[in-house]
């Protein structure tokens, strides 16, 4: 079933409730999705796997609502993004934007630096605001287009561009300071 297109697999899941077809989709997208969540959580593998699992369960129950306006992968990333923010909100009683951003920051900085290139990336991303980080990760690591990033994060394309621009400036400064430039 591995060679079937996403559309064919989605049709099998929605029409026949095929678990096998859904399993193929999970195998196909587990790696980019878990990597994306690892980058949002500052490298917390266990938390990002739990969030990825929740994302796939939501995708299974909501697949009938998938309208093919974006790719399946973009749709999946959007669910993951919302699952991540639902988790952040669940940590705090207060739901203000500042509280949520502060919580994302503290979650991001909990993980230790092991001196690897991955740790350098985590450190570099740690200098960005949560929104800048999400845009930079999606644009450079997951190689998403601006429109797709806007779809995933629910931000207007102009806002995505601003976050990207500010994020790039901070990243460049970090890289030049640390001998990458």
């Amino acid at each position: 079933m591995a060679e079937l297109s996403d559309q064919a697999l989605i049709a099998r899941v929605t029409v026949f409730g095929s678990r096998r077809a859904f399993d193929t989709l999970v195998c196909r997208y587990q790696s980019p999705l878990r990597r994306f969540l690892q980058n949002l959580t500052g490298g917390d593998n266990s938390l990002s796997d739990d969030l990825a699992q929740e994302t796939f369960i939501k995708a299974w129950t909501q697949l009938a609502t998938f309208k093919n306006k974006s790719s399946f992968e973009t749709w999946l990333f959007r669910i993951a993004y919302n699952v991540f923010y639902d988790y952040i909100r669940s940590l705090k009683e207060s739901q203000s934007i500042e509280d949520v951003e502060r919580e994302v920051e503290s979650l991001y900085h909990q993980h230790a630096d092991d001196g690897s290139i991955k740790a350098d990336v985590t450190q570099a991303l740690g200098r960005l605001s949560p929104k800048e980080r999400e845009c930079i990760v999606l644009f450079f690591m997951e190689e998403r287009q601006i429109k797709e990033i806007a779809d995933i994060t629910g931000m207007p394309e102009g806002t995505v561009k601003s976050h990207l621009s500010r994020g790039k400036e901070k990243m460049t400064a970090f890289l030049k300071q640390n001998g990458y430039g």
Binding site: V15, F16, W60, T61, A64, V121, A124, M141, T172, L175
Partner: protein
């Protein structure tokens, strides 16, 4: 090197494919068992109803009888061959069962 290229190179150097290591199996174990999909039974119902209408409309019963009688006649008139019509029915039933199993395996 321009800034975009520098950042891209840096980010991609840390990008790695994450091996499944049982993750998909874990997800599939947590997928709800009850089928939230009502479309399949409804589709089957409509398909069966449409086929039944076509069968009656096109006089399917007499076509089927005709095919069966012709096959039976052809086989029994073959030289040195004794044939029990039950074999043909058993063969058809086995064929249907095999086909259904193949479809179920393909879909689920």
């Amino acid at each position: 090197m321009d800034d975009d290229k520098l950042i891209r190179q840096f980010m991609l150097s840390a990008r790695e494919e994450i091996s499944d290591s049982g993750f998909s199996a874990r997800v599939m174990r947590h997928i709800p068992n009850e089928r939230p999909f009502w479309v399949f039974p409804i589709t089957v119902l409509f398909a069966v109803a449409a086929l039944a209408v076509l069968f009656v409309w096109l006089d399917g019963w007499s076509v089927l009888c005709n095919i069966y009688v012709r096959a039976y006649t052809a086989i029994t008139y073959a030289k040195h061959f004794t044939f029990n019509p039950l074999y043909l029915l058993v063969f058809l039933a086995l064929g249907c069962w095999f086909l259904t199993e193949r479809i179920k395996k393909l879909v689920y």
